[in-house]
Symmetry: D2
Subunit: 338 residues, 4 copies
């Protein structure tokens, strides 16, 4: 069978390296072109010492013509700042999976509100499909531009969406989330040095993390109701993984036990969401280096419900979910290569 | 000036080692006797390779007569299970600072509820003073038995007590707390292996951690009102430090800005509690290896208030606070040796 | 094509978990039976929270009849103490890959010298083939019992063997090697606690680590000459990986540059050994979670040569190499599943 | 007693922070002025969140007049590139302890050989006293400019000097040394990111690390003989500490047991060097956060000797040793504040 041809724009960053690591094992994809602005001409191994399977392969300069010619799908994985120019140049010529936050929010105003800059390609916002396969698979199969979800957003959405859609919990959630340092990328700065993260735990961007806007946007879009959300992100000294502690509240007169039914029904056929039995809460060790999002729950006093979501921010929170989306778009098995 | 003579029962554990490390620098204390059941006869350095200043000193077998004779104060720092026998044998003969949870709850029933075993010395419960110097200094000065607070409890109490006493927040708190692995001690078990904690983050004892009972007990005792508390402890792969994210709610019609006043007034003369300005949240790096508890706060939407407490679980959460208590009991400067 | 049926004895330990993780992705193997003495009846996930793909599968009690019936190959991965009984019961009925040190040394006397106990199945020593595929592939293809190499030994042997066989270096090597803590297993003990390894670096078993005996044995067997070896193992606070710094010395009048020729020729067709150019030394990041052993070299002053070997102790140093051996034994591509 | 007035040039870096942390506890020193080019005007806590005791204090711009006026001693702790201008401006007006490598080598040629740049103040090289108190205390007491030793050099020198001076070992040493990441400073760069160091172990600057030149210089100066040295530095993912594995060789016909005598005699009155008994090798845990250098030794086969040195690179390898030197210079007890 002819392999699907995939390219990466921004292959030298954390996410680019993770994409390459997983794509290598994908039985139906071929990596045809990987670009890097900062490391064009360098071998992949210069940026990713642990990356086997691409001996001799080198990053290329960004060239939209060549990408259009040599790829069926292109992952946009530039560390920063934006994918606007790439989407303008490539939309309609290849199918795009954008791992940045550029096309996750529904309007240029919302983008500006959460990212503090103008949106550079607002005409494509309506084309973007939010890449959460567990809820948007039909749309994703046909998508020409996928807005791949943020790492924090993935966990909170997978935990809350089924319960909100079923009317089981009130539209209110307080989230304390801890992420590994890879979430901040690997570009040298005062927040990515080993000094600042090792043996530390540090809240950051409290009340204005863009993933908060993303969660609000998607929940409102998919449930029809706004959510009252507080989101407290923290960065820790391990490389990978996110654990999210979510406090919410049952609608009055509801049976806590129905949580199990609702979650299990929602994810019965979802290959990458594992629902734990009541009271067994997930840990990072269960998800790191996998595309799983593990969900746990426990009823608390006074009608409260504790939800815990765990995932690998670089896999289900980025590269793995992007490949899962590509699988849907290309008509491949959803789990191929994962 | 004659030095105060201090002894330690259980000197070979994590807390024992931390006590020794700090006591060495204490200008007014002399360590006269350190016992260890498991390592009697061994040099301190066998258990604590990083411990200078006690060359040639060896752990002794537990001997209450000798402790009574050679010490003015005794720290009870046995890793497990209980200090009951030691309190029975030593109460009234030396002044005791118990670092276990045995005397923190107000009744044998409550102890049994949270620790799942019978209390072995209930007649001493009424003698115990809870060792939170910022709120109980007068009682501590005269105490003969101090129940040194739990690590998690210290942070939550210091964050909430002033606001609850001032009537600023409602008696409700949702807490997500992450601790370094030293909180679990160093006795080999499936939860203390490097395998289980390194690069991991894992919720444990959710809804039944004994520190939850301790917080409820002390808040109710000191404010006169019960608290509605949820407490979600998690263990991470770093050695030291606790960061606690606390969601609470302002009483109606209150000015969020008064939070600063209340906290600053409460801790103006407290040498080890640092109140950050609104919106600047503490990080572990600011407290590790110190006796500080750093407090930060930020108003959220809808009348909610975020509080964050950071402390070193082995210092302000254990050995440092114990020494702070001894300083008060012995009439020394509260900061001596810290 | 009918899949090869593989079993594991001792599936609940570190190595058992790593075997399962890799076997899941193996296209031509099927895991038919996994035993565990300590966790028979438990699901795999109880021991290995991060292990996908085996939902519902449970460890079985050790049962040689059933292993003989249901498996073509059996990995012996018991954490301790020995595989003697298993080899006695299964030899000749299934093909065995023993990941312990029991069959790596050539005589019961040598075993006793390095392991300080009697060998329990000396009659099988002559059947065992040392599982270093880069040098013993023909023998391995036919082997009925493979002694899978030790983690430290793998790196030192791959670095030294070609140079010694080519007569390029003198038979003398001084090795300083640092390993991640997974090398010590996950059975709770004073050396596997997080307390003892995190943020630490500690020499251990200096001058009597059994891998020293193993290196001596194999080098002597494969080169015909004894080696003068010093081996200083150290354990660090990261989970995976070994980096070995090897000082040796060129034979007089030899061109250092021929090192490149010799190493490249030796490993030209070895899929898992990567020889770096002179002066570019390997790092752990390049090998962790892969089956690669990376080799680097640099001529030093006075005829000395520096060699550096890096590998993942759980993969090329244990489970990965075991699968590589099985691939050879079963006539599969050497890289299958790796 | 009037306190000695100490200043720091370059207080916002790793070493500056460590100096402040220790100076706070020093009973006889007062920190009068701390400068930072990058953070002048900022509070100390902005650069060092964990630094108590200096509330309200701010970094000042570099001003040699003010330093000369307000300080008796000045630590030069600029992260980079050189202290030449500061030494020119301040020499003779205050007593200087330079923590850079600028004045450790004996000639401008040697400096250029190892640092690849011209020496900017060669006329002061002859004024500089190498700050190794265990061997140069008399010179240090009178010094006006101290070249504080490099972290790696401190351990190798303390291990080798007594044995070489006693003629016990041949002038040849092979060193494999692992350092925590703090050795590379905290200025953001591709080698100080968490990405590049966490869970990694990486050789760097092999055969041309400047500390190799420093060891050669000092050994030759203090023993009268050149040393044949190989030095293989490696950086690991923990913050603090250096462990050095040193292979050397006994002079013919010497008793290995005399190693103990020589080392113990050399350090009998050295408060910060601890000699372990034969075969008990030091670990990082024994020295981190202390000013100790621990030395261990073990005779090997064929007349070889293994030496192991452990120290905290930020303390005995930098700030602690600098304070030890100041103590000598100021006529204070050598251990004051340490």
């Amino acid at each position: 069978m002819k392999k699907v041809r995939a390219g990466i724009v921004g292959g030298a960053g954390y996410t680019g390296g993770e994409l390459l690591r997983w794509l290598l094992r994908h039985p139906s994809l071929e990596v045809t072109l990987v670009t890097s602005e900062s490391q064009a001409g360098e071998p992949y191994a210069a940026a990713h010492p642990g990356l086997p399977g691409y001996e001799g392969r080198r990053f290329q300069a960004y060239d939209p013509e060549r990408l259009a010619r040599e790829c069926d799908f292109v992952f946009l994985a530039k560390p920063q700042p934006n994918s606007f120019a790439q989407v303008r140049a490539l939309f309609g010529r290849v199918r795009l999976i954008d791992l940045s936050g550029d096309f996750r929010l529904g309007s240029p105003e919302k983008f500006e509100r959460w990212y503090h800059e103008k949106h550079g390609a607002p005409e494509f916002l309506k084309e973007a499909v939010y890449g959460l396969p567990e809820f948007l698979a039909p749309e994703l199969r046909a998508a020409r531009l996928v807005a791949n979800p943020g790492c924090y957003a993935t966990g909170v959405l997978l935990a809350l969406l089924p319960l909100l859609k079923a009317g089981l919990v009130e539209p209110e959630a307080l989230v304390s989330a801890v992420s590994g340092f890879s979430g901040a990328g690997r570009t040298p700065s005062s927040t990515t040095t080993a000094y600042s993260v090792v043996d530390n735990l540090r809240p950051y961007k409290v009340v204005n993390h863009p993933h908060q806007g993303e969660i609000l946007e998607v929940l409102s879009r998919l449930t029809g109701h706004p959510l009252d959300l507080e989101f407290i992100p923290q960065v820790a000294g391990f490389e990978r993984g996110i654990l999210e502690v979510i406090f919410c509240r049952f609608q009055p007169d509801l049976e806590p036990a129905s949580t199990a039914d609702v979650l299990e029904k929602a994810y019965r056929s979802a290959p990458f969401v594992r629902v734990h039995p009541a009271g067994r809460l997930p840990e990072l060790k269960g998800v790191v280096n996998t595309n799983f999002c593990d969900l746990g729950w426990q009823p608390l006093k006074g009608g409260r419900l504790l939800l815990v979501a765990a995932l690998d921010n670089l896999v289900k929170g980025a590269a793995g979910q992007a490949i899962q989306n590509l699988n849907l778009m290309a008509g491949l098995p959803e789990t191929a290569g994962l």
